[in-house]
Symmetry: C2
Subunit: 235 residues, 2 copies
């Protein structure tokens, strides 16, 4: 497989085509952004750690029946993945109120939710990725009702699997964001990454934040947190 | 029935208890607010017109099987209504993109939606009435899944009934907000009001706005618009 032209550069990743039309090469950058790009910085080795963490979690999910785009990790920052046409939705699953949810619903940060919350956001940077419901999704033709049901069911299953996997590793899964895409034959696969950039992980005992909130909120120890998550997942 | 103590004063209405524990008296004020109370004013005779318009539309809906709190209109600003314990949700139904939806989804004001959109907002002035989905509603225990399904089905039925009723009256129903409440025996009834304060009505031919947007956006002719809506609904 040969790396081809750059297809797309996002905030944290660069995506290259390859000589296989069904495969992409995803390069994980150290660049960090927050608050819809208003805050920018670099987290040393983030790309390497997020590639490793994502690869490990994608492998684990595939072993447990959650089809995803991960294929291989041929170098420390580069992931080979199935080429998907992205569904323009972010699916967020929340077990504990934190970040925007806590603020929006007037809940204290750290409040355990009586029920798991699932949210769809419309992937539109220019609109600040607004929260949408199933009616908006239909009106904008972003996904079919069957696809929406599949995204919801898969995301809740990922929540159960990841929470169970991470708890013995002393990581509490507070919330996370998933993205999905369609293969050329219309199959929906989990895509993007699963990392401290896209999940909130809190130490199960101390409640210490081991995720991008350390960067967002200038808490210090950002690199160390990403390394610690990798240590616990690899261990 | 005797008017009793003031139970609650809202932005546009004052609610009094009566000597009948199942009935309330709702006084419609001329006060107008917009943008979650940031803009304030008075619209002459608004209370009288909104009471009349609401009474007419509640009667029409009741005749078509939509149970609601309306009982009588004993004076020009006072409505007798069934006493409800309010469900803390606003249900918004939209046929055409306008206001916050147009802005949030990046649609041009006036775009007909490919599908009717239904939205739930959490009634919390201090939080700016945030958009919520069915998972938030469950996590916050605002309504049961059965109640949510009933609110959605009733609201879509109200949309069909009102749109059909208003079209021959040269009023296009762009969007509207409903509130619901529970009677003492647990029945859910449509409550609040149905008026140019809570609906967007556009003239079917000219597209002229005949609703609170004239106040929100300083378009002038505010009183005349409310009078015109009443004339068309009464006629």
């Amino acid at each position: 497989m040969t790396k081809g032209e750059r297809l797309y550069e996002g905030k944290a990743k660069i995506v290259y085509i390859t000589d296989d039309p069904d495969l992409l090469l995803i390069h994980f950058k150290d660049d960090a952004t927050a608050f819809n790009g208003q805050k920018k910085g670099t987290i040393s080795d983030k790309g390497v750690l997020n590639a490793r963490i994502s690869a490990a979690l994608f492998r684990y999910l595939a072993e447990h029946g959650v089809a995803n785009h991960f294929v291989d990790l041929p170098s420390e920052r580069e992931m080979v993945a199935r080429r998907l046409s992205i569904v323009p939705l972010e699916v967020v699953v929340r077990n504990v109120a934190a970040g925007s949810l806590a603020k929006r619903l007037g809940l204290a940060e750290g409040t355990r939710l009586a029920r798991t919350v699932l949210e769809f956001y419309y992937k539109r940077d220019d609109l600040g990725d607004p929260l949408v419901n199933e009616y908006h999704i239909r009106a904008l033709d972003l996904a079919t009702p069957e696809e929406v049901a599949q995204l919801a069911a898969t995301s809740l299953r990922v929540n159960d699997l990841l929470a169970a996997h991470l708890k013995p590793r002393r990581l509490e899964l507070i919330d996370f964001k998933l993205e999905f895409g369609r293969t050329r034959d219309g199959q929906i696969l989990l895509g993007d990454e699963i990392s401290p950039d896209t999940c909130r992980f809190w130490d199960t005992e101390t409640g210490e934040r081991l995720d991008k909130d350390r960067f967002r909120r200038d808490l210090g120890g950002v690199e160390e947190a990403y390394q610690e998550v990798w240590r616990r997942i690899a261990g």
